[in-house]
């Protein structure tokens, strides 16, 4: 069958039409859908899901912004409009479990949708990858690509401090046999990339430095060859910082899923 040779990205609508139900819904988010750089992260994650035969689906055209940027900017009306419409779609499809590659979507759906009638088990893709590794569904043995390579992990605020997820992304890096080095400020003390709270979408207030530059300098101090991230906004901010320091040839900014996919030769 020819279709077996292509990557599967089933939508919920298609699944339901075939009378099937997915194990997990992959919530892509706006950055994953539109941002060219983050599309590559989403692609990597879809490849992994295909590789280990996870029965997943996406909402596709039925997905829309969770409302996080509106809520953090103070617009509760718009947030709740978005949230209620999303919850209506998710509940209509009887979604129980969601995985997302965006800590902001993760935080909003996990912590804030329950108050509006949306109760789901929500995982960040680092936690999902960790569970695939722990269950033995995803094996990374024999991967030489990252072996002994210095990698530092930048904690996203909405994954770390906001939700106390610090170990899952690190365990994925360790599974790659890489040499995980920590920045001066890490985990609970991790410094923000500068994009949270809707700062992503506006110019910063007057100051003497941009936050992403401050953070990039810390990352460069570790001498890591890769700055690993788990958030589309951090990806943009740190990549911009690396470009600003003219280090893009020496230091890569990669998402965990990209590293795993690459190590697996996907």
């Amino acid at each position: 069958m020819a279709e077996n040779n292509f990557l599967k990205v089933p939508t919920m609508a298609e699944m339901v039409a075939e009378g099937k139900h997915p194990e997990v819904l992959f919530w892509v988010g706006c950055a994953g859908s539109y941002d060219d750089r983050y599309k590559r992260v989403i692609t990597a994650f879809v490849k992994i899901l295909n590789e280990v035969d996870v029965n997943f689906a996406v909402l596709g055209p039925e997905e829309s912004c969770t409302g996080d940027p509106a809520r953090r900017a103070g617009n509760e009306f718009l947030f709740q409009m978005q949230a209620m419409q999303n919850i209506e779609v998710l509940n209509a499809y009887e979604i129980k479990k969601i995985v997302t590659a965006c800590p902001h979507c993760f935080n909003t759906i996990k912590n804030e949708y329950p108050a509006l009638g949306g109760e789901y088990e929500v995982m960040h893709h680092s936690q999902f990858l960790q569970s695939l590794i722990n269950e033995g569904r995803l094996t990374l043995e024999g991967g030489e690509l990252y072996k002994g390579k210095k990698i530092t992990f930048h904690d996203s605020c909405y994954l770390g401090r906001s939700n106390n997820v610090y170990e899952a992304p690190r365990s994925v890096i360790q599974a790659l046999d890489a040499d995980l080095v920590e920045m001066k400020r890490c985990k609970t003390n991790g410094l923000c990339c500068g994009a949270g709270g809707s700062q992503m979408f506006k110019e910063p207030e007057e100051g003497n430095k941009d936050i992403n530059i401050e953070r990039t300098e810390e990352a460069l101090e570790t001498d890591a060859k890769v700055v690993a991230v788990g958030c589309p906004f951090c990806m943009t901010m740190i990549s911009d910082g690396i470009k600003n320091k003219e280090k893009e040839k020496d230091v890569k900014v990669l998402d965990l899923a990209e590293m795993v996919a690459e190590a697996k030769g996907l």
Binding site: L116, C157, G196
Partner: protein, 455 residues
């Protein structure tokens, strides 16, 4: 006769201190209750645990171990020396001297008194180190703009006061020991204690009368100093010694990233979306709800309690990415502003027979500017850094709600984001119909050779 006068003066001093402290306590309690109610108060066991861990055990203070240890010494000294203060108070009221030495065995009394002296010495040394740290080492977070003037002096006054109180305690015991060796009447033979024994030689050349004068002066300065300090604390950032306990008890237990749902908005949104509305109570009232916080009355009482609990240590500000990079925002200033405004509103209410008269000022604008609010990345570094779980971010986000929903004062770039989300279901100006293009493209990508074989 002199004895009776002393006793009467002492009782009067206690009474007056009690009066002043309770008046201030009522004022602060009322000001905290200017805030709105909070719903989430369940899980008392966990709350009690947090209080014991963070306030009683000071767990987060030990993130910086040396300072944590010094701070713990001052705190433990404060708690334990209170037992000795109890004896002093009873002595003062009854006109006796070292009352407890008649009740408990001499060895135990000697041990306890010596233990308190060791604590007093530790407190003195710690406070001296703190003074050096604050004034000579010039740690940046102690010298920011919001610390100029009163906050800076306040911090030093507290440290001076503790050094004076502790040295009075030691002088009192040393002159007491000197009087014992002279066999003075009123001074029972309890011995020279472990620390003050080294000070006794300083006092040995004085006559009995002079020594009694010194001992009495040290005794009075010490105890009146404690009373004065009790009153001072209620006007000072030092209030954290009491409020850290309720503050950690009532701190939120939900994940830091969670923002609370605004029920007042939920019903309106449901009506707009044509969804059934369940809880209509409240929506019947004529009064339009206001959204977000423009003044302290719009905040929760927890926010205001946070503000009165803050001891201006500045750990929040030193971790704030906006502040680190030179922006105007300082989470500590946000807390100080809320407290100062709550004080101002409270005084206004007292001056106007119990009702607030508009003073033409607001927390938003007059204390906290839009520029400060807009600089926040909501990263929770401030809330994480606070040793007693104060949450400045919650206040910032409540005030942003006011800016966005009541004032329509958000930056133009954010207004574009709102428009894009409304029209395209994404914060960027991409067509909603293109949302799944990435997936359609991927469906054209062939699987790897290995996957093909598996299939």
């Amino acid at each position: 006769m002199i004895q009776i006068v002393q006793q009467l003066l002492f009782v009067a001093a206690i009474g007056y201190t009690g009066f002043l402290v309770s008046k201030r306590a009522k004022f602060i309690y009322r000001n905290i209750n200017l805030g709105k109610g909070i719903e989430e108060q369940e899980d008392k066991g966990k709350r009690f645990g947090n209080m014991m861990r963070l306030a009683f055990g000071q767990q987060k203070m030990f993130d910086r171990p040396i300072v944590g240890l010094l701070h713990f010494a001052v705190y433990a000294g404060f708690l334990l020396i209170n037992i000795e203060v109890l004896e002093i108070v009873l002595d003062g009221v009854t006109g006796q001297h070292r009352l407890f030495s008649n009740i408990i065995p001499q060895g135990v009394y000697y041990f306890l008194a010596s233990f308190f002296e060791v604590m007093a010495l530790l407190v003195t040394v710690s406070c001296l180190i703190f003074l050096v740290r604050r004034n000579a080492l010039r740690i940046p977070r102690f010298h920011m703009k919001e610390m100029e003037g009163w906050p800076y002096r306040d911090a030093n006054y507290i440290l001076y006061a503790e050094v004076i109180l502790m040295s009075m305690l030691l002088s009192m015991n040393a002159s007491d020991a000197a009087l014992q060796s002279l066999g003075s009447d009123h001074y029972p033979q309890v011995g020279a204690f472990i620390v003050s024994q080294f000070l006794v030689p300083l006092f040995s050349n004085f006559s009995e009368t002079t020594l009694i004068g010194i001992e009495r002066t040290a005794w009075w300065v010490h105890i009146l100093g404690i009373f004065a300090f009790a009153v001072y604390v209620t006007y000072s950032k030092h209030l954290h010694i009491f409020l850290a306990f309720p503050n950690t008890f009532f701190a939120r237990l939900t994940p830091k990233g969670k923002m609370d749902n605004m029920e007042s908005v939920t019903n309106e949104v449901k009506i707009m979306l044509g969804m059934p509305v369940e809880n209509v109570e409240g929506s019947e009232s004529d009064e339009m709800p206001t959204f977000g916080a423009k003044d302290v009355q719009d905040l929760s009482w927890r926010n205001i309690m946070n503000a009165y609990s803050c001891t201006e240590c500045g750990r929040c500000t030193s971790q704030c990415p906006a502040n680190i990079t030179g922006k105007k925002l300082s989470p500590r200033k946000v807390m100080m502003d809320v407290r100062d405004r709550a004080d101002e509103v409270g005084k206004n209410i007292d001056a106007n027979n119990g009702t607030f008269q508009d003073d033409g000022k607001l927390l938003y604008g007059d204390f906290i500017s839009k520029e400060e609010l807009m600089a926040c990345t909501s990263c929770n570094a401030c809330a994480e850094a606070c040793p007693i779980n104060i949450d400045p971010l919650n206040i910032i986000l409540e005030m942003r709600r006011y800016v966005a929903m009541e004032e329509s004062g958000t930056p133009q770039e954010w207004n574009m984001v709102f428009q894009n989300i409304e029209n395209n279901q994404a914060p960027w100006a991409f067509a909603a119909s293109d949302r799944f293009n990435w997936g359609e493209e991927l469906r054209q990508v062939e699987k790897t050779e290995k996957q093909k074989q598996d299939a």
